[in-house]
Amino acid sequence: MSKGVHSLWMAQDGVDKIEAPHIEYDLLAPTLIVVGAAVLGVAVEAFVPRRHRYVVQVGLAVLAMAAAFGAVVTLAATGHGTDEAQTAAMGALAVDGPALFLQGTILLVGVLGVFTFAERRLDPAAHGNRVDSFAAEAAAVPGGEAEQSAVKAGFTTTEVFPLLLFATGGMLIFPAANDLLTLFIALEVLSLPLYLLCAVARRKRLMSQEAAVKYFLLGAFSSAFLLFGIALLYGYAGSVKYAVIADVVAGNPQNMTPALADTMGNDALLLIGGAMLLLGMFFKVGAVPFHMWTPDVYQGAPTPVTGFMAAATKVAAFGALLRLLYVVLPGMKWDWRPVMWGIAIVTMVVGAILAITQTDVKRLLAYSSIAHAGFILAGVTAANEEGISSVLFYLAAYGFVTVGAFAVVTLVRDAGGEATHLSKWAGLGRRSPLVAAVFAVFLLAFAGIPLTSGFAGKFAVFKAAAEGGATPLVVVGVIASAIAAFFYVRVIVLMFFSEPRPEGPAVTVPSAFTVSAIAVGVAATLVLGVAPQYFLDLAGDAGVFVR
């Protein structure tokens, strides 16, 4: 720990001697910009006239994300990702390679998220007003009078943009969190807006609300576990700081106290606490058996939200998980590795098998994301530097593919809104070859076909796992990939080789927002697949955690 950081809480010298905490604003710039913009966004909702809100909010969100991304790049360029890696805000946050890499990824995905949120060409205009995927008035009863009048008035839920920014802010902190408290707060900051975002779909509102309830209750349930885990770990180590806990776990604490000596002897605290902590992470990444919310929520939430959530949350959560395992708990590597092995295997296999019989494209992608979580977990278990960089790379690759894929899903519509049932996708390749081809590219990337980012990522994590001695994991992963390939291929078959139905959905021509989101997704998929070297280097350089 750096010298300038004090323990604020050990107030031995009296209250008036408490030093003001030292905050490195420059290092925290990305997070601060995003959260600041979110707060501004709330103010916008309050003060800007309704008709201007959309433009202002979108502009603000994109600007904030771009500025934050610029800040991340600047930090990385000035070596904060590598040599200058350090902790900030009195050790609460880490500014190091993995954090910056993941923040960059989250911000890019976030920009694409804003784009898909801002799309107003897809839904047919209601009473002359262009509308997006979000409810006119989320508080109104579905189908009620209030809703109808809100629709008539052309209301839209522009609050989604600040919510998105808040969530993004939480995600930026999550992988950078360097103590358990920050971790917990970040988790809540990213989760709460997402719960709300799930609930505000314009169409199929009952499902949207149901998704929100499920997500919320189960999410809260899991954060309760996480909190209790934090409590137990704190009890074990006497601190919430990662570095301190790591030392204690490793068995050589800096400041030995009698109480610490007492609790240190109680391994149950560490083990149960660690397990509960991991549980919280597993919930967020959707690992089996904590995955069950995933399909329901992915299906019910507005598709732009699903895309953003699936991509960004996973990135953030895996970042946090990596830091936990590599910084806090390396001392108990021999305890968590077998557990992780088990979870990874079950997740890969169950995700792949369950996806086979899905009939809804969003649920299909949900199960696919579960299987992918399994693959990434395989990389996480490698427990070496390769493991970190391969997971980082995989997350970036996966993030773009996911956003792109869900963006495509928003395009395929019939009278009832998005046509997500797979049977309606039959023959899409004949009606709209371009859209189908793009979706096929995403599916192939999910399936891990060479020359797509999915392959490069999969190869990276499997390689890391193999080098880390987890050969059985690789074998299971390969088998799961084969099973998974089956259902991706099934969709492709459906799109290209089935005759289109006369009543089938049409592809709506989107605005530049969605087009650019999809285009970036495709570009990232292909670039990361064909020439991944640059990004692998990035991820490789970012492969060291600061303590």
């Binding site: 371009l434 390689k463 084969a482 390939a485 078959v493 290209f496």
Partner: protein
Amino acid sequence: MGAIATAAVPAARRELAKWLALGVSLATFVLAAVIAVRFDPDGDRFQLTESRAWIADFGVRYELGVDGIAVVLVALTALLVPFVILAGWRDADPAGGSAASTQSRWRPTQGFFALILAVEAMVIISFLATDVFLFYIFFEAMLIPMYFLIGGFGDKAHEHGEEEAARQRSYAAVKFLLYNLAGGLIMLAAVIGLYAATSDQLGAGTFSLQEILQARGNGELELSTNTERLLFLGFFFAFAVKAPLWPLHTWLPNAMGESTPPVAVLITAVVDKVGTFAMLRFCLGLFPEASDWATPLVLVLALVSILYGALLAIGQRDIKRLIAYASISHFGFIILGIFAMTSQGHSGATLYMVNHGISTALLMLVAGFLISRRGSRLIADYGGVQKVAPVLAGTFLVGGLATLSLPGLAPFVSEFLVLVGTFSRYPVIGIIATVGIVLAAIYVLVLYQRTMTGPVTEKVAKLPDLRVREVLVVAPLIALLVGLGVYPKPLTEIVNPAVEHTMSDVQKTDPEPDVTPVEAAHE
């Protein structure tokens, strides 16, 4: 060299797609011919090499180079693709005026030819790659365009109507993809394993074939017996699926049966060759001891393939499936030749790949012309074609005779070399394999008899003979079959040094004859 890859990739987009595609494929052929000419059989093992860092993190290099075996296969690929394109000239034309074609933006014609070119490019890179990972990538990637070619442009002819045809087609495409993908993924595990092994022992992981060979040669890389065997099996499995070897063969009849004839040619004559080629280059080159260990098993499987494929061919009712099973039998021969571990076997197998490509292409394309005329794939629907369309029947017969390895045509040379090569090390297997040539005669002649001879059936009576375009496709193939049958020397001269290298990789020498000949046959 790199130009090959790039030249072949651009997808034809316009109305002129066909001509463009043909032009590109011809240009590729010219390039391939240039390579073949520039290739010096007595020079280094790998020539015209090109190496560039690609994904340093994975130790992957963009490393191309040809040895004698690769060069002939590249030439074969480049040679066949123009014919495939020419033969498939009309295959992807949209069904005139149907509702689907007016309301959709589906442009099958361009797509068809673009996909063919994509496959060509990927196959060529697979042949050229001297980096295991690079090879793997294209080995897998070529599945995708192939998959669309099978599923998207299948044969409309089916005894139970078009809807059934579409169902069968997508089943075939999926089966093709899943089989090969499963094989490929298992290979992926092995590729990763290989990398882990190299990075363990050499310090830095590498996929470069040359580096690995070198390291093995000077003892820096010593794989434990078990590791080597497992890795070998991983690689071999993928290649055996692709090749296809019994009992991993069932995708081929489906795929070939349901796709258009030119695509079927592409599958069996070009794409599947990557499998056998890779056995020769990677399985034998990287894992000589494991190859030796697996030889008995592989030989038996190859033998089963030969007989089983031939027997099933006899039992088929569908012309294209029959040819597919015949191909399975032939692939059995190729694999037999490879794992016989003799120079004759290896040379024979290499030549066999080329010759089988040409002969199957001929047979399949002519069969395709026939099927497109009559609209049925069932053998029983034909009869007496010889009388109505003698040129078609004649070329079909030549293709058939090549398939049954009639001496004087190219396949005979290779088949005999394979048999001799096998026989000199494993006499019993060699003898059983020769039964295959009787079975080949049966299925070819039964097919010919049932379709071409006998009284002219009613529906056949109006079939036109081959058109100029079709003759243009067929004639050069026949000329090649005869030419290479009579004078295969140019090929063997290119192949021989490469075979010697492979033999030294596996540390085998040919069995000596009992008796030293009193004097050489001549000179």
